[in-house]
């Protein structure tokens, strides 16, 4: 049987792509406002918790971890991995079209490779068939 995904499972994969990249960007922006944290200024970490960008970033990264573990419960690690990498593409495209940063040809090449990787994996089955596990999942043999 080929393991195909339900629309809700595609939504989880898209959430993985977006939450990690946007969460990291928000954390980066928030910590930029808080200032440099070092051993002599550890109190700034407490201060950072009151920054709305840091808070939003933490919420999104918790959401990422929840989506990631959920995806691993019905898909292979090697299937989910390219989805996590797609976050790099989202960050680069956000930089290009939102912050109007220049992307070098090298970065465009990187984006193209990751997009191809996601395409390769998305076209295949999401999960390796393990006969014993599948038997348990279907309830046969209980």
């Amino acid at each position: 049987m080929k393991h195909t995904l339900k629309p809700s499972q595609y939504a989880v994969l898209i959430a993985i792509m977006l939450t990690a990249s946007v969460g990291d960007s928000l954390l980066s922006r928030g910590m930029g406002q808080v200032g440099q944290v070092d051993l002599h200024h550890l109190g700034l970490l407490w201060h950072a918790l009151f920054n709305p960008f840091v808070d939003a970033g933490i919420v999104l990264l918790i959401g990422f971890f929840a989506c990631y573990t959920t995806a691993l419960s019905w898909a292979d690690l090697t299937f989910v991995m390219p989805a996590t990498a797609f976050g790099y593409v989202v960050i680069a495209l956000l930089g290009r079209f939102w912050l109007h940063e220049q992307l070098s040809p090298t970065r465009w090449a990187g984006i193209l490779l990751i997009v191809c990787a996601v395409g390769f994996v998305a076209g295949g089955p999401s999960r390796t068939e393990h006969h014993e596990l599948d038997t348990m999942d279907s309830g046969v043999g209980r």
Partner: protein
């Protein structure tokens, strides 16, 4: 860069990557053991699902590895340049995950997935530069 320093930098990069691979593979193994979380949520509700995940031994050790990975990453960044450490760790982690998924999780890593893994590893390195 002197030879001992190169060994130190690359040793820390490999160590951080190994911790990330161990964490991700253990979490994946734990999740596979639990089965589809949507089914568990339908039976036990959200609280029951969270409890099932957090009390899974493999997930717990995997999460611990990821926490250690975070601190090891901070150490690696203190001795290696970000422009070298970040893409190197990310790329090694993707390749290490594919190898570990084949060996330990017995995933069917066919040519399509190997190609995707290599593309991701090179793509991440190119974007980070």
């Amino acid at each position: 860069m002197l030879a001992p320093q190169i060994i130190r930098v690359w040793g820390s990069i490999f160590f951080v990557s190994a911790l990330a691979v161990a964490g991700e593979v253990l979490i994946a193994a734990g999740m596979r053991e639990l089965g589809d979380l949507d089914d568990i949520r339908a039976k036990s509700g959200l609280v029951g699902t969270i409890r099932a995940v957090l009390t899974n031994g493999k997930f717990f050790i995997g999460a611990l590895c990821m926490a250690l990975n975070f601190f090891a990453m901070l150490f690696a960044l203190s001795i290696a340049d970000l422009s070298l450490a970040a893409p190197a760790i990310a790329s090694l982690t993707y390749i290490g995950n594919a190898i570990a998924a084949k060996w330990f999780l017995h995933e069917k890593v066919d040519r399509r997935r190997w190609l995707a893994t290599c593309f991701v590893a090179v793509g991440v390195a190119l974007i980070a530069h």
